[in-house]
Symmetry: C3
Subunit: 210 residues, 3 copies
């Protein structure tokens, strides 16, 4: 396993820990509840991915993941305490970065264990999406994955870029960076211009609501 | 493993994917969020069952499960777009069918791995109930399992029919069909006539509410 | 594995089953939904711990855990039906006892499988906290772990007492009892005097709410 894998993993963990801490702050949580929410957001998706792949969970033999969570959470707390304005969409943007790292890393980890490309993209999406899903459920918000703006689609899109580039024999590191960048740009564009894909006809919804 | 196992599994997956898609439609979700909710409902329970039994997760080496989800979700979307009225309890009925398939298949899979009948029935119930539970939590609805009408009881009832018939040396396929049918009929009857089991005295509840 | 491990485990299971049943009662749930909520609260955390440690899930080969849940749930139902007043914080106190058993047992189980002390304390906290978290999410309440009063902190505190005493060569049983007692007393004190740790400056929160 190349060394940059660990760094991508730690970066994803840290960014999701920041997004968990921001969610805790927005929801008036206090004390160590912040650490819990930061940890759940950061390791939820990767833990599920590793359980499903039946490999040792990433953080079980490596304290570095918890240090990354602590540093990110405490740094975010200090930032929030000392600045008066945090833009409203900071949480969404931190989440987008976490997504980029986790989806591509998760896809690669699944491929390493012999899954098909489709299952790998699904597992990558799952590891990117589930930490944030648990965060939103615990905060009793509508999960970000359902609040539209191409959330799940960007994950699948990034996974397709990555696996396609691998199939074209592009070196792994470049394919990863391209997949992460493609995912991130699409997600940021979707947040910026509120891009959505309506699949149900609008008027049908209103007529049939119970 | 007999071939009809795969078909029961795929049918359960498809029916739960339909119920997830209907839940997404009722909750005004759009785009790929529908696919996420359909997938989570469809594979949530079976994934948990396989993780607990420590066997490879059903869909990890078989793309067929994802095709079943896609086909079921897209078919449901087309149906919803082209019909003006979907009866209010369609979601409950689709859920009942998924329950019938998953509970009996889950019970059998646990027995295959040497658990006691009681643990097998519990695991079957868990694999039937958990996908829908996650669906309802993500939609921020009171989980169907708690909205009464014998929900958990029908699962245990179906599991008992199945394991009892097996103990009486009834051939596996017939025992399965009997268990599924018993579970389904009891659940549909409970939905139709709003059958519930009150366990707490009604008046105590109102007196002590904080 | 010493025999008292099984008893601590069963006690933790029973206490969490009581807290799950009380939560079901407070939320007007009925019938077998109570059993579901009691079971989920009781085995949720331990199941997650065992999945992550990749060891057989505690209840998979031992019916005793389900008997403990049934007895605790039915006993609680009878108590609630026959008494008019259940103090409002009974749920919190039952939860505190469950926490004490599960956190220390979880920490020990992780140490048994060769994790570092820090990861062991995290896994212990996780196994203590997650059952109640799922309970609260299913009841659509703000998870107790976020409603302050040192919830997560007491878990980490108990884990630190236990691992420190082990490092000082205190016999395991005494170290366990000391860890459980320390955790329980701190949690009960936090409930009694509403002790919290505010980490975000209060005024910042109000200014930036979206």
């Amino acid at each position: 396993m190349p060394e940059y894998f660990l760094w991508f993993d730690l970066l994803g963990i840290a960014v999701f820990a920041i997004s968990g801490t921001l969610a805790a702050w927005r929801n008036h949580m206090d004390g160590f509840g912040v650490i819990v929410l930061a940890s759940v957001t950061a390791i939820g998706g990767g833990t599920l991915r590793d359980l499903i792949l039946d490999v040792p969970v990433i953080w079980i033999n490596n304290n570095a993941y918890f240090y990354a969570i602590f540093v990110a959470a405490i740094g975010t707390i200090l930032l929030v305490r000392n600045r008066l304005t945090i833009p409203n969409n900071t949480l969404q943007i931190a989440d987008a970065f976490g997504l980029a790292f986790f989806v591509i890393m998760g896809t690669q980890k699944a491929l390493d264990h012999g899954t098909s490309s489709m299952v790998a993209i699904m597992l990558g999406t799952m590891s990117g999406v589930c930490g944030g899903m648990i965060r939103d459920v615990l905060c009793r918000e509508v999960p970000m994955v359902f609040r539209g703006e191409l959330y799940a689609f960007t994950c699948i899109f990034g996974g397709i870029i990555y696996t396609s580039l691998l199939a074209l024999a592009v070196p792994q590191l470049y394919a990863m960076l391209a997949g992460m960048l493609g995912l991130l740009l699409l997600r940021l564009a979707a947040i910026r211009w509120h891009i959505t894909i309506p699949v149900f006809g609008k008027h049908h919804q209103e007529l049939n609501e119970p």
